[in-house]
Symmetry: C2
Subunit: 276 residues, 2 copies
């Protein structure tokens, strides 16, 4: 097989399986090539990813060794994407009765989901999340997209307890609209002592995210991060102080039809790696 063909196959195999450790021995066999050629190919792919800022390849030595693709995103692409989101979100046609903002269309777009998921995966890449947790409904696509780039399962907390999920833990909490709400999570959906990353579409007072955090105590799980697509500047403080927001809604005025949306703290948030 020619090098260029091998490189297409390798690039495809790696990109389609983020974070998955791929055995060098198996790959060499599958491609019918020497491990040394494979290493050269991987070096080329690694160089391009690093140069572009779109990720990195992590190599593990030894018998069980292999290589995995860690997705990244260039800082410039993050800021451009978030700026574009702020612009879209500030469209006065999005104002709904009661001062709500219509954002379901944006959170259904495949390019937005892909980019936002990639940003969260990048921001939380050092956090060691084993699951992405969200609550139905609007946060699910974002959670799935993030989980895809982290190569971990998505777990969905329900607003009601469905018979089709077996025994569950239920908790009550007070939502942003000051109503008492219930959320429940099937016992078997999350092993005890898991590390979870919470992803949601929107955070106002933080009641829902706080409730998910409380719920995690029932599962002896550790919350390693909280990421939201949009938070609001008010109220301060929120029930949760450590979270990452892509955008911040500072004003919606039903009368003047003015909306202000600014970039969130996603660029300050990255703690472990700083090559982004």
């Amino acid at each position: 097989m020619r090098r260029s063909e091998r490189i297409v196959r390798l690039t495809q195999t790696l990109l389609e399986q983020p974070y998955r450790l791929l055995s060098l021995t198996e790959m060499a066999e599958k491609l019918g090539s020497a491990k040394s050629s494979l290493s050269e190919d991987l070096a080329i792919i690694r160089d391009v990813l690093l140069k572009e800022g779109t990720g990195s390849l992590e190599t593990q030595a030894g018998a069980a060794g292999g290589v995995r693709y860690i997705p990244g995103i260039p800082s410039r692409q993050m800021t451009d994407f978030v700026a574009e989101m702020c612009r879209l979100l500030a469209d006065p046609d999005r104002i709904l009765p009661g001062g709500y903002l219509y954002i379901s269309d944006i959170l259904g777009r495949p390019d937005v989901l892909d980019r936002a998921g990639r940003i969260f995966a990048h921001v939380f890449s050092g956090a060691g999340a084993e699951y992405v947790l969200t609550v139905e409904t609007k946060g699910i696509p974002l959670a799935v997209s993030t989980a895809r780039y982290l190569h971990v399962p998505t777990v969905v907390v329900r607003r009601d307890h469905r018979v089709t999920e077996g025994s569950a833990v239920s908790i009550n909490y007070v939502s942003g609209s000051r109503r008492i709400q219930t959320m429940s999570l099937s016992r078997r959906s999350l092993p005890e002592h898991s590390k979870v990353l919470i992803i949601d579409d929107f955070m106002k007072a933080g009641g829902t995210a706080k409730a998910m955090t409380d719920m995690m105590k029932e599962f002896k799980a550790e919350v390693v991060g909280v990421g939201v697509f949009m938070s609001t500047s008010e109220p301060v403080p929120k029930l949760l102080d450590d979270y990452v927001a892509l955008t911040v809604l500072s004003q919606v005025d039903e009368l003047t039809r003015e909306i202000h949306v600014v970039p969130g703290n996603f660029q300050l948030a990255r703690k472990e790696n700083s090559d982004g």
Copy 2:
């Protein structure tokens, strides 16, 4: 830039944006290479995709011309995946009180979502879907994954009418459990005369899928396909006769703890292309 580097960048650009038409002129500029070299690179990528059965490149000539990546999946990979799903689903530990089957864990796994989404995108690749439609909650991850490979937005029908989505169309229907249920969809979430592909996790009598189809009439939309992860062999006939199922549940016995799950009709379903 060396050919091998160019090929990595091209492969990445194409694979990360299924179905998106990418301009040859822009790509040549970005890579700093002649269009003729680019065409040679694309030919190499096309050959590998075809040889592997993992997709194809579609070239459009002319000033607005370009190239797009159409994801595919080899027949063998489809049957292996579905066989593996049948095996997993038949685990007696999945039986819940009432004869329900616990499948949320499977539908949260990133590899399952990716593969199932890819299969649906492949099966319905000729259908011209402009949106993927699902109903909350369990079908959403599958719908998002399919929509990613078709590069179209996901639209989620709600079980209740939420204040944050504006005016909506609501309909009542009878679900598989014979209860009267409501579903509603925000007016602005779908333009009239759209072509939609319905994706859901589970179909028994077909009441929910039929209701979504009825709902689409209110939006003057055309349903170009229905795909479910699992259907049941009973009842026959269902309220909907044209659907694609990856797996079919033929028996759950709470007493003997026997479950039978067999592959569905996904391989007969593909009408337009037959290169898979």
